[in-house]
Amino acid sequence: MSVELGIVAQQFVNGLTLGGMYALLALGYTLVYGILLMINFAHAEMFMFGAYVGLFTLQGLSQIPFFTSSGPALLLLYVLTFLIAMVATGILGVVIERFAYRPLRHAPRLAPLISAIGVSLFLQNAALLWISSRSLPFPVLFEVRTFNIGGASISSMQIMIISVTILLMLVLDNFVSRTRLGKSMRATSQDRDTAGLMGIDINRVIALTFFIGPALGAAAGIFSGMYYGNIKYNMGFIPGIKSFTAAVIGGIGNLRGAMLGGFLLGLLESLAAAYISTGYKDVIAFVILIIVLIFKPGGLLGESVAEKV
């Protein structure tokens, strides 16, 4: 099999785009898991919800002539769309935490998992019933240009997705490692009770976590809508389980691990789709997961923590 450099480069760029979406979504899983040790199954629905809010905001605001009048105004339109969708989804996340998960904080481990599945079922059906059971087209208001670099065609949309993803990650990474609130998040994930004794408002930190995760998930949802051109009520499911897989591959609870896992998964999936088989594309994620976990049970960047006796 001859490997053409152009095709590899093409799949590399496609993989980075896909990986960026996985990574953004994986951050939400890893943040919640790091603090509450819980698989937030409803997180996939944040991706869906964010995409819908993004679509409606975009449709609403583009009715105002000002926003489509010039380049900078169009940019402002997109910035506003992202902000509104991210904030709205973040608020939804906080509300879900308050009513579905907080009462279960001292319940057995599986109870919040079931609750999360319930929330997921609820939101999916809410979107199905109240919005549409069919997929809605997601408009692209700017002209998508394609650049040809070394045999690979890269669209301006891909460049935008990859760069905004990296920007969001840098912001999050700095927030968690440099600010006071970030420090309290790290403390809470290390030891919730002790952090509480040190004067950290645990409920506030958890609420903050449930704001940031869904907000990033919403951004990923809008990217997905723009990239694939349509959104649907069940669009979150497959990216959701893959992103969780990405978070585990990177080492769950570890932010940089989730980013690495997301990009890695996106890249390998694109390359596998090109060189192995498109039918088995979705298997790749899980095969990699199993291989990584057998040889490095804590994930790539996870610490191997000894079980407490």
Partner: protein, 405 residues
């Protein structure tokens, strides 16, 4: 509110008495044995199918309960075993039909024997899948195991969709062109001999009783298992792996047994489902189904057989019940047909909301096992006071002992 509470308490008190328990038992037995016959007689074939479907899910939930409830290993890909059982049952059936047809043994009735002849072996494909999946990954702890089993479930589903080894006929499902699934032996006999008047002993009714027998057999086996050496090892391991290992429980083989036995029931349920419906396709084995079975186990009460059965009944039947109640003539004065249909559409939404409410009010499930129920209330004031008292006495006894020395 108070009146409802008092009424509920009165009902509860009644069923706690000896007479009450007997009444309850007979009522339950009567419903499971005769209710489907009444539905069939009333011409409601749909409800008979729901009864049989509930039976299949009870089998699956009891099987998963071995893995999740008894051994405490979260498995999010249980449908893989169900799928393996269903596809293996179908393929082996085709193979058997061909061999018997060529050899000419059993003549015409040969094709009706596949289900029954293969039933004793139906667990084997499931067990093989269970060991195959379990062996490499059982060293992983808690949530990692959950995600890996989820991955295996997806791999199996995708492999089936892609017609792996040419055995699954891809997305269009089995039987494919040129293959047939003949009715199982007995189906024709009951239809001819037990039907009278308008009442027809239908295929679904026949399978309901087959599944019911399998459920009773499963309950028997699991009760025996729970009291066996292996069952106790599972509980010990679930409570504290390190402590269990230190008293001689082989953790790896104990976990593997849980996986293999749990998978066995997935296989049996899959085999039965395949021959009942006569058709299998990859859509029946998606991730959501695996999740719903976990919900049955947790919602009903992990580790408790009545709890798990109740969970399976509620989750399988609830969406249909919500729809049936909304469409019932009793509510026709309150709801227009359009509204009733809308409630039917909203059933999964309502169901999702109910799951959240249920977990907030009763995280241990409807009918938790006694041991689990005790675990969940560790900070009982009176128990704590007693324990403190005992500790205090023990210490002081020690003091007086040392005085003597």
């Amino acid at each position: 509110m108070g009146a409802i509470k008092n009424a509920l308490r009165a009902v509860n008190d009644f069923f706690s008495t000896r007479v009450g328990r007997i009444v309850f038992f007979f009522a339950l037995a009567a419903i499971t044995l005769f209710m489907p016959v009444f539905f069939q007689a009333a011409g409601n074939a749909f409800m008979v199918r729901i009864f049989a479907l509930v039976g299949i899910y009870v089998l699956l939930a009891l099987g998963l309960n071995i893995i999740v409830g008894s051994a405490g290993l979260l498995n999010l890909g249980y449908m893989a075993f169900y799928a393996v059982g269903a596809y293996a049952g179908m393929n082996l059936g085709f193979l058997m039909q061909e061999i018997l047809a060529r050899s000419g043994a059993f003549g015409e009735s040969a094709e009706h024997l596949s289900y029954w002849v293969l039933l004793p072996f139906a667990a084997i494909p499931g067990v093989i899948a269970g060991i195959f999946i379990g062996a490499p990954v059982l060293r992983l702890r808690g949530d990692y195991l959950a995600i890996v089993t989820l991955g295996f479930g997806e791999i199996v589903r995708i492999a089936i969709t892609n017609d792996i080894f040419g055995l699954t006929n891809g997305a269009s499902g089995l039987p494919g062109v040129g293959q047939t699934v003949a009715p199982a032996a007995g189906q024709q006999w009951v239809r001819e001999n037990l039907s009278f008047g308008n009442f027809m002993f239908s295929k679904d009714l026949f399978w309901y009783y087959v599944i019911l027998l399998l459920v009773l057999f499963t309950i028997f086996v699991i009760t025996r298992l729970d009291n066996s050496r292996l069952g106790r090892a599972w509980v010990a391991m679930r409570e504290d792996e390190v402590a269990a290992a230190s008293v001689g429980v082989n953790i790896l083989s104990t976990k593997l047994w849980a996986f293999a036995l749990g998978a066995a029931w997935g296989g049996i349920a899959g085999h039965t489902y395949a021959y009942w419906v006569g058709f299998v396709s990859p859509e029946s084995f998606n991730f959501m189904e695996s999740v719903l079975i976990v919900c049955m186990v947790v919602l009903g009460g992990m580790g408790s057989i009545p709890g798990v059965i109740l969970g399976a009944v509620i989750i399988t039947a609830a969406p249909e019940i919500i729809r049936a109640v909304a469409a019932s003539p009793a509510l026709s004065g309150l709801l227009t047909p359009e509204q009733a249909a809308a409630v039917g559409d909203y059933r999964f939404l309502i169901f999702g909301g109910l799951m959240v409410v249920m977990m907030a009010l009763r995280p241990q499930g409807f009918l938790p096992s006694k041991r689990r129920a005790r675990e969940l209330q560790p900070v009982d004031e009176t128990v704590l006071a007693q324990e403190n008292q005992q500790l205090w006495e023990a210490e002081h006894k020690h003091d007086s002992d040392s005085d003597i020395i």
